[in-house]
């Protein structure tokens, strides 16, 4: 086969791009264009990433010495709670799906828009409303429950739990609506010839994510509703003082929040699948295995939540069951990682910034994945549970996995989204700073956790001080790297070179239209005849290896 996409010479760029096709503030505020909404989400999640990042730096600074330094215990507790809640609910969960996913999904499928564009707009405003409530909680009396809202602490503390949970409840609906929209889009909006085996792996990942969003988030909604009612009326389901069971709350909460972990990481997997193939000029290794493992992870993620409750007073027998199922989730994850590495084999790897992030991801995610194993091993988890080991593990997965993939994906699609090229050298410096800073910050925390440093302590035993200081310094490097990245990306918006329509020579559909795309994405509906990874560099003369 020749090219994956029927070549239809793109019209000379006479049609204005989506950025300028309509003008004025209102044209943005009421837009139903998935690309504009993607950018609006991008700006919002970046704003919250910045806020929560600053909170993280404040936390690390307080932890520089074992004693209380410049924050009271109450302030520290509020700051770590807000760091967690904002990062989870306002940054990571919407980051890849709502920002990049919104922008790319219809483009990758060859559609003009998502299935329900107005629902998409609504979803953005619902998210904003949720964010407003969370901010209101911060501005009134704060929130000090931890992002997990465990009862009975959350039913008895004096802080603004109801405002904050209402915010999360509302933001959850945004997540549901986005997921619903994406599932329908993938099912009904594919361009001619785009069958399930020709979808880019990013679409598979977003699809799996959307399925989880639809199935898990409603349970979060009802959990938070019950929590709000418990706090205001004391109905006695979660609050032991009224005859309820606090461990039941943890079941309710983690039934959503464990799958939510995969809402956060699966889209990252999708991005890496794209980065690894495009920048090594090679067909992805094991397309079906990667696609189906996304779906498998999505399904299995629903039956492993009990590993958050191994020491919570959950029945030991349930612990055994959940431990076993948790290991089961490791298998598809391992398959993915191996497939990415195998994709590099006999490729022609071009080291630009996006590729650097892809390679960094393989390191950080491997660490994150492997350190998940002791946490799923029952007896070891008893020791490591709620220590810095857990903190380090999920930061390796959430930051080292999702955020690194997200930033990598941002660099990869930046020319398409903005029509501007960024400075590659600046990008590589940023990537190096992020990678080093990140590893220094969190690798140390594995050792801390193993030696028994509990989570959520604002003051700690002096034995831990050296490692805490190393970690704090690492976090400063990480912060500098991220700020640096922000600066040169913003700079490129104004001073960057104009981007060609396909700077990386990718084959998937989003690169077959101009940069930035026109309002309806394609001048004419594309027809797909082959795989999205069928690069011209692939040597087809040799025998074997066809799909």
């Amino acid at each position: 086969m020749s090219s994956a996409v029927q070549s239809h010479d793109p019209h000379p760029a006479v049609e204005p791009s989506y950025l300028v096709s309509k003008r004025g503030l209102m044209s943005w505020l009421v837009t139903v264009d998935h690309k504009r909404l993607g950018l609006m989400y991008l700006a919002s999640v970046m704003f919250f990433f910045l806020i929560a990042g600053i909170l993280a730096i404040i936390l690390r600074t307080e932890l520089f010495t074992p004693d209380q330094d410049f924050m009271s215990a109450q302030t520290y507790n509020q700051v770590f709670t807000l760091h967690g809640a904002i990062m989870v609910f306002l940054f990571i969960i919407p980051s890849v799906p709502a920002a990049l996913g919104n922008f790319l999904l219809p483009l990758m499928l060859g559609a003009k828009d998502v299935a329900f564009p107005r629902l998409n707009l609504l979803s953005f405003y619902v998210y904003s409303a949720g964010a407003v409530f969370l901010i209101a909680a911060i501005l009134t009396s704060g929130l000090d429950t931890g992002w997990t809202f465990y009862t009975p602490y959350s039913t008895s503390t004096g802080t603004a739990v109801i405002t904050a949970t209402t915010g999360v409840f509302i933001a959850g609906f945004s997540s549901i609506l986005t997921g619903l929209n994406f599932v329908v889009t993938v099912h009904k909006m594919r361009a001619p010839g785009m069958n399930w085996n020709r979808m880019p792996l990013f679409v598979w990942a977003i699809y799996s994510t959307a399925v989880i969003q639809v199935l898990a988030t409603p349970v979060l909604a009802i959990t938070l509703l019950l929590l709000i009612i418990e706090r205001s009326l004391g109905i006695g389901i979660f609050d032991p003082a009224m005859g309820g069971d606090p461990v039941l709350f943890q079941h309710f909460f983690w039934f959503y929040s464990h799958p939510a972990v995969y809402i956060m990481i699966l889209p990252g997997f999708g991005i890496i699948s794209e980065l690894v193939t495009v920048h090594s000029r090679k067909h992805i290794f094991g397309y079906k295995a990667i696609a189906l493992s996304s779906v498998a992870i999505a399904v299995i993620s629903f039956v492993v939540w009990g590993h958050h409750l191994f020491v919570s007073g959950q029945s030991e027998l349930a612990g055994v069951l959940f431990s076993f199922l948790t290991f089961a989730v490791g298998v598809p994850t391992a398959i993915k990682t191996f497939s990415w590495v195998a994709t590099l084999y006999k490729g022609s790897i071009q080291y630009n910034t996006a590729c650097w992030y892809g390679m960094a991801f393989l390191w950080t995610f491997t660490v994150g994945g492997l350190t998940g194993l002791p946490l799923s091993t029952l007896a070891i988890d008893v020791h490591l549970h709620d220590t810095y080991f857990v903190v380090a593990h999920f930061h390796y997965v959430m930051v080292g996995g999702t955020v690194v993939a997200f930033i990598g994906g941002l660099h990869h699609w930046w020319p398409k989204m903005t029509g501007k090229m960024f400075n590659e050298t600046a990008g590589k410096i940023g990537c190096l700073l992020v990678f080093i800073g990140f590893n220094v910050t969190f690798m140390t925390q594995f050792f801390l956790g193993h030696q028994g440093m509990p989570r959520r302590y604002y003051a700690y035993l002096p034995e831990y001080q050296v490692m805490h200081q190393v970690s704090t310094i690492g976090s400063y490097i990480l912060a500098v790297g991220l700020l640096w990245t922000l600066i040169y990306l913003v700079h490129s918006l104004f001073k960057g070179e104009k981007a060609p329509s396909n700077p990386w020579g990718a084959v998937s559909l989003e690169w077959q239209t101009q940069s930035p795309p026109i309002e309806h994405n394609f001048h004419e509906t594309p027809h797909i005849h082959g795989s999205p990874y069928d690069f011209p560099e692939i040597d087809k003369s040799g025998a074997g290896g066809h799909h």
């Binding site: 001619p192 199935l215 959950q314 029945s315 069951l321």
Partner: protein, 177 residues
């Protein structure tokens, strides 16, 4: 109209929307069955079936629900993927129920002695100030209720003290499960 595609496949007659239209008799039969089944559960609820009553009621409810879903919601004739979505949802609800119930039912399965210890300790603590845990749920609840009475309704706490005690005793039994 050669260029109309759906799900990546060409569509022959894009204008036609194929929908199954059920005859009136189907709807009448279904609503009749639903009324009969409702009458059945209602009648059964007066008979004392003991624990079996939950099973009977749930089976009847499932039959009723299936009728509504299959005929009123047209799932029987609809896109098979919708059926998949619906059944998939039920399976996930099942996972949620099953695993949570499994935990709650098997708690302390490995610690039979604990029960004896707790009883013994409760006797030890009887009359002492240090009351903790399950044993004082009723007292704490009674206190909350007393607060409410004190603030509204005009009921004096003293009049109902006896009631509370009786109340608390029974609750104690329930809470000790």
């Amino acid at each position: 109209m050669a260029k109309v595609f759906l799900n990546g496949q060409p569509v022959e007659h894009p204008h036609e929307v194929h929908e199954h239209i059920s005859p009136m008799s189907t709807y009448n039969a279904v609503i009749g069955a639903l009324f009969v089944l409702t009458g059945l559960t209602f009648a059964v609820s007066f008979a004392d079936l003991g624990p079996a009553s939950l099973t009977v009621a749930m089976v009847v409810a499932f039959i009723k629900a299936s009728l509504v879903v299959a005929y009123f919601m047209h799932l029987k004739y609809d896109d098979k993927y919708h059926l998949f979505v619906f059944l998939g949802t039920i399976i996930f609800v099942g996972i949620f129920f099953g695993f949570t119930m499994f935990d709650l039912k098997s708690r302390d399965a490995l610690n039979d002695e604990q029960e004896t210890f707790v009883r013994w300790k409760e006797q030890q603590n009887a009359g002492k100030g240090l009351v903790v845990g399950v044993d004082n749920v009723p007292e704490r609840r009674a206190k909350v209720l007393a607060d409410i009475e004190a603030h509204g309704g005009g009921h004096g706490g003293g009049d109902h003290g006896g009631e509370h005690k009786a109340d608390a005793k029974a609750e104690h039994k329930a809470a000790a499960h």
